[in-house]
Symmetry: D2
Subunit: 384 residues, 4 copies
C-alpha cells in the first residue's frame, strides 16, 4: 500500500492560542502529516473561524471533541483522521485523550498528561489495553543535543552519574498577569484548569522529564519548597527542590515564573565520574562536555560524529540553527513514522520510537503530586 500523509485532528488551538499554532507547525514541518479536521474551541463559532483560517473544509470543523471523534469514526478509513492532537489547557486533556483511545485513534497530547493521578492511571491503562500510540509533547526531548547527551550517558561516556542540576527559570509571571486579558496566564494560574500546581506543573514537569529522559535515572525522593510570590496568586510561581535518584545521584531542580527577566531558560547539567555535560535550551545546538582528563569539547548539532538519535533529529547542516519548532516537530515526525509503520504493518525503526509516552506523563503527574505534598510537609524527604 502506498505511503500517504498521516492525518491529524486537533482539539483546541483556536485563533489566539499559543501552543496550538506550535503543534500545527510542528506537525506540518516535515511534510508527513496533514491537518484534516479539528475542534478548535469550546465555542463552535470560534472553532469554525479557526477552521477557515486553516483552510479546512467546513464539514471537518467540529464544535466539540466529542462531535469530532464521533464524526471522524464514521468516515471511511481513507479519509478519517489517524490521530488526535490535544492542545487544550490541562483540565481538558483527559476527556479527549480517553475518548480518542476508546475509539481507536492514536493521541498526541500536550503536557502535563492530565489533571490528577487518577486520570493519569486511567490513561496509562487505556494505552496499555488499546495498544495505541500515545505521545506527550515534552518537546525539549526533541532537541538533537539532548538526544546526544542521553546516548552519551547511556553508553557510559561520562561514567556513573553523581549530580544533576536542572533549572527552568522564566520571568513572565513576575506580576499578576492573570488579572489582565492574558489568556495563557489566566488558565495556568487557575487551580480549576491547571491542577494542584502552577509553575511546577507547567514547567517543573518539563525539567523533571528532561532530567529523567537525559539521564535514564528516576527521581526516588524529593524535598520541595514551593512559593506563590505574587500577592493573591493561587498556585506556586516558584519552586526549589532537592532530588535523589535511584542510582544514588543527588540533584537540584528549580523552576520559576517570577525569575524576573528570564525568558525560557531551561537548562541542565549532569556530572558523572568521567565528565560533566551542560545543555541550555536557549542555545540548544550546543552541548558542552567537560572531561576530567582532556579539554572541554563543544558538541554541535549536525557537526562531526554524533549518536544516531542526534543525527536523526537534525534536518540541516551544522551552523544553521535549529530551534524550538524543529525539536517539537521531531516528536510529530516520530509519531508519524510509527503510525506509518502501523499502516504498513511493520515495526517502526527504533529511532522513531524515541518520544515521550504516557509513562512519562504518569511520572510527571507523580512528580506534581509529590512536589506539592513535600512542600507542605515538615518531613525532609518525600518518596516518589
Amino acid at each position: 500500500m502506498a505511503k500517504r500523509k498521516i492525518r491529524m485532528g486537533m482539539v483546541g488551538g483556536g485563533i489566539g492560542a499559543f501552543i496550538g499554532g506550535v503543534h500545527r507547525i510542528a506537525a506540518a514541518l516535515d511534510g508527513q502529516i496533514e491537518l484534516v479536521c479539528g475542534a478548535f474551541s469550546s465555542s463552535a463559532e470560534k472553532s469554525k473561524l479557526s477552521g477557515e483560517e486553516l483552510f479546512l473544509p467546513a464539514d471537518r470543523v467540529y464544535g466539540s471533541y466529542v462531535e469530532m471523534i464521533e464524526a471522524e469514526k464514521q468516515l471511511p478509513e481513507g479519509d478519517r483522521m489517524d490521530f488526535v492532537s490535544i492542545v487544550t489547557p490541562n483540565h481538558v486533556h483527559f476527556g479527549p485523550a480517553k475518548m480518542a483511545l476508546e475509539n481507536g485513534f492514536h493521541v498526541v497530547s500536550d503536557k502535563p498528561l492530565c489533571f490528577n493521578m487518577e486520570e493519569a492511571r486511567e490513561l496509562e491503562n487505556l494505552v496499555k489495553e488499546t495498544g495505541l500510540i500515545f505521545a506527550l509533547t515534552h518537546n525539549y526531548t526533541g532537541y538533537p543535543m539532548v538526544k546526544q547527551a542521553k546516548w552519551m550517558i547511556k553508553n557510559g561516556d561520562i561514567g556513573e552519574i553523581r549530580k544533576v542540576v536542572v533549572e527552568y527559570p522564566q520571568g513572565w509571571l513576575s506580576t499578576k498577569l492573570e488579572d489582565t486579558e492574558q489568556k495563557q496566564a489566566a488558565w495556568r494560574t487557575d487551580p480549576k484548569r491547571s491542577g494542584i500546581a502552577g509553575a511546577m506543573g507547567d514547567i517543573g514537569t518539563h525539567a523533571e522529564n528532561l532530567a529523567e529522559y537525559m539521564t535514564g535515572l528516576q527521581i526516588t525522593e524529593l524535598c520541595a519548597d514551593l512559593s506563590a510570590f505574587v500577592d493573591g496568586r493561587l498556585l506556586d510561581d516558584d519552586g526549589n527542590v532537592l532530588l535523589r535518584f535511584n542510582n544514588g545521584a543527588k540533584g537540584i531542580l528549580h523552576a520559576s515564573q517570577i525569575a524576573a527577566g528570564e525568558e525560557n531558560d531551561l537548562n541542565i547539567r549532569v556530572y558523572g565520574t568521567k565528565a560533566g555535560l551542560a545543555w541550555k535550551q536557549m542555545e540548544p545546538n550546543t552541548l558542552t562536555v567537560r572531561w576530567l582528563d582532556k579539554p572541554t569539547e563543544i558538541r554541535r548539532t549536525g557537526i562531526g560524529e554524533l549518536y544516531p538519535a542526534a543525527v536523526a533529529a537534525a534536518r540541516i547542516p551544522g551552523g544553521h540553527p535549529e530551534g524550538y519548532l524543529e525539536a517539537f516537530a521531531n516528536i510529530y515526525k516520530n509519531v508519524a513514522m510509527c503510525i506509518q509503520a502501523r499502516i504498513a504493518g511493520t515495526e517502526p525503526d527504533e529511532i522513531h520510537t524515541d518520544f515521550p509516552t504516557v509513562e512519562d506523563g504518569v511520572r510527571g503527574m507523580l512528580f506534581i503530586e509529590k512536589v506539592v505534598a513535600s512542600s507542605k510537609s515538615e518531613e525532609k524527604w518525600t518518596k516518589i
Copy 2:
C-alpha cells in the same frame, strides 16, 4: 473569494539535495503553501521517486521544468500552481525563472540570481515587464533580529553609519571535498555550474546582501583579494574585501570556505555615530546594541518592544529559539501573503513585501562580477 493555500511547483530539490528540503520545510511551515507539483531532477526517474516521497500524485511530477510549466499552464486555474520554486544549482536558475515569468507564474529562486550579469539583466527586465512576484532566498534577511537591526538603522537609532564589518566563515571546503562524492561541494566548486566565483558567489553574496539589506546602504567601491587555497580548486574558496559605501562609510567583507572548523558563522557589525549593532547567525535571536552613552542592550526575538517587522517575523514567545528554517519560512510566508493579495485583488500589507527581490539578485551578480575583477586588478578600487 475564499482564501486558499498557495500552490507551489518545485524545480530541483530531488532526493539527496540539501536546499530543496529546506525550501519545502520553509514553504510548509506556516500552513499557507502546499506543494502541488515538481520537476525534482534532471533524471525523470529520480524526479518520480522524489514525487512519491513527497506524496505527490504521479501526474504532477514532471521530467523537466519545461514540461512542468507547460503542463501546469494547461491546468484550470483552480488547480494549477501559483508559483515556481527554483532550488537548482546556479546554472539552472535562469532557464526556469525566465520560462516561469513568461508563462505568468510567480517565482521564488535560490541565490545567487543566475549565472552571469547578462542573465541577471534579462530577468530584471522580465520581472518589470510582467509585474510578477520574484523573491530571491537571501534567507538571512528573514531573521527577526536582522529586521530589528534594519529598522533601528532606518529610523536613525544608531546615528549615521561609519563602519560595517560582515563576515561569513565556513570551513567545510578545507579539503578537496569536490573529489569525493559530496554533491554540494562538486557543483559549488565547478565554474560550469557555479559561475565565475566560488565562495564569493555562494556565501559572499549572502554577506553582501545582508550588509546592504540591514544598512540600507549600497557598496560603491571594493578592493578584493580572492584565493583558492586548496590545491587544484578552480574557484575561490576564500576572499577578503575592503568596502566603501554610498554614504561614506567604510567596511570589510570576508567570506571563506577554508576557515577550518567554522560552521556557518555569518555575522555583521554596524557602527554608527550613536551605537554599534552586532548580530550573529549562529545565535540569531540576539541583537547586541552597544550605545555610546548607556549600557549595552541585548535585544531578543519576541521580547519587549521591537519594530513591527521584527515582531511579524517571529512565531513563538521569546526564549523559544527560532532558527534558520523559520527565517527561511519568513520569505515564503511573505510571498504567499503577496500572492494571496494578488488573488484577492488587494494590496499586500507592507510588512509582507519585505523579501529580497530580483533587484537584490542583480546587486549580488554585480558584486560577484566586481569582486572577481578587483581581485585580478592591480588597481586598488573597483567601482560597483
Copy 3:
C-alpha cells in the same frame, strides 16, 4: 606624619603553597603594602628558604608565628609589621589570629574564619575588645561587578528580592586526589585540618558569603543534603541546600568539588520584583541585568555610570579584563587604607571599609555548623 607603606607579616604561605602566593600578589599589587616578615612554614628550614625567595632579610624570617609576633612586637614602631596575614589551613587560623590581636596587630585572615564556632566567638569578641582591624578574605566580594550588584540591590534598583540562586561547582576532587601528593587536596579533605565540612567549608562559605554580601539579606533557615561521593572521602565533596532569607526570599545554594570538568564556576542570580541580576566569577567583569520592562543590560567593569564602590574597585579602563588577583587585592587595598587612616588618626573613607570582617567569618562558621547539622537531620528546616 608622612604616609608610608603598610607593613605585612605573613603566617604560612611557604614555597609550594597556593594561597600564600595569591595573598602576596594581592598585597603587593597596589604598592601600598610591603611584606616585611613571615613565618612561612611549620618547618623553620622551609620558612627560611621561603624568606630568601621573597628577598626578606634573614632576621625577619621566623620559625613560627609565636616567634614572629613576639619578635616583631619588640621592634621599634618604625620597623615592625602593622598587620598579620594568615594563609594557613583552617586549623591554624585561630592561633595566630588570636595572638596577633592580643598583641596589637591587625589581621587579614584566609577563610573560613577558624575551626569551629567556639573559636569563632572568641575571635569575634577579641576584635570587639581590641578595636583592631580584622579582614577575612572572602575575595569574591572584591570584584567591581559584585559591588555594583550589591549597590543596585541596596538602592532598590531591582525591587524586593524574591529568589537567590548561588552555585559553586568545581570538579578537581572528582577523584581521590588526597591520596596523591596533592597538598591542597590533602588538608581540605582532612577533618583534623579542615573542620567538620569539606566542600561546604572550603567553597560553600564563599557562596554563602557572596549571597549575603550581595543581597544584604541573611539566611534564616536551610535544608541541606551533603554527600561524599568519592569512596573513602571523610568530608562532604558536594552539597545541595534550600535557603530561606530574612525578608521572605527563597533560595538555592549548591557547591561541589566533584562536578566533573568545572573549574571554579562560582555564580549567582538574584531575582527581584523589578529585575534579575546574574554574575559569574569566571567572567567577572560582566553583570547582566534583566529588567521586567526594558531590554536586558550588560553592565561592565569600568564602563559607564556605576556605583562608587564599583568604580573604586577597578584599576583600568573597561575592556581590559580585571581578574581574581585584582579582586583579592581590593581587600588588601582597603585594609591598607584603613590602617593608613589609623596611623594618621583619621577616619577611613567609607569606601575603604568595604571588606569582609570577623562578623562575616562568624556567619560562615554558623553556616558550616548548620549545613552539616541539617544534612544529618530528618527535619526539613534548620534555623541559622
Copy 4:
C-alpha cells in the same frame, strides 16, 4: 651572590596618567621588581608629588629623564636602578630609551617603539651594540592562551596557516574627545606627539604584533584604507587592511577607535589546514580550537596540558580569571628574570626570553609607515 629585587626607574607615569600605573602594578605584581626612582613628569613639581604618592625617597625623584639617568649612573652598583621603564607618549620614547642604552641601563618601553623609522633604526642598532635588554610592552603577547596558540602553531598542531583575521575595535574616540580635558585622547590624536598614525599606531600595531607573534609569520604586503571619521580629527581613527604573509597566507587587520560601544575587543582568528584558533582579549583565558576532524575544544588558562610557555604565564589555578595586568606583568617578570641572569652571569631560562623586543618595535614602526603610505596610494599592494 644573593638574588635581590631588580630595581626600576620610571620615565613618565605621573599622577593621572593611565599607562604608568599599569606598568607599576605589572612590575610589582610578582615581587621581583622594586620601583626605586623616577622622572614622572615633565613638570618637576608634579614629578615630586608623584614620587611621594609612590613612597619614594625625595632624592630618587627627578625632574627629567636626563637628570635621572645621570644621577643614577653615579650611584653605587648596589643602589642604582637596573632598568628604565618608559611610559611617556610616543614622541618621548626615543630620547630616554637612547640615553638609557648609552648609559648601560636596560629598557622596558611602551609601544609603539618611537616616533618614526629613523629613530627605530637607531634604537635597533643601539640595542645590538650594547647588548642590553630591551623589552617593548606589546602586553597582549603576555596572555597564557596567546602563548598556547603561538606554540600550537609553531609545533604544527593546526597545520599550515592559510588565513589570519585580527581585529581591534574600540569606541572611545567616537566623539571629539580630544577637545575635552581627556589627556589620553589629546596626545593620541595629535600628530606631534603620536606620529603619522592615530588608531593604527596606538592599537593597530598591537594587532599587527599579535598576528606576527602568534603565527610566527611576517606580513609582506598590505592594502590599507584609513579614515578619520570624526570631523576635524587629524589622524586616522579607523583603518581596514588586507594582508599577505610570507608563507602565502592571506589576512585582514582592522582597528578602530570609532567602533561605537566597543570596549577593547582585540581578537584574532588563525585558520590552518587542520584547525582554526580563536582568541579574544576580553575573555583572555579561553582559546577555542576548532578542528577539521574532531570536536571543537576549549583550552583554558591553567587547565590540562598546555605548552610550557602557557603554563609559565599563569599564576593561579584554572577558573580564577587572570587578566590584563597579569599578562602585562609577564613581560616585566621575564625581563626581571633576564636581568637576574645577567647579574648572576648565567643564561636566562629560555622561557624568560619570551617578550617583545626592539625588533618587534621596528616591525611595528614599519607597519605604521606602510599602512599610512598604502592608504594614500592608488596602488593595491604596498610591500613591507
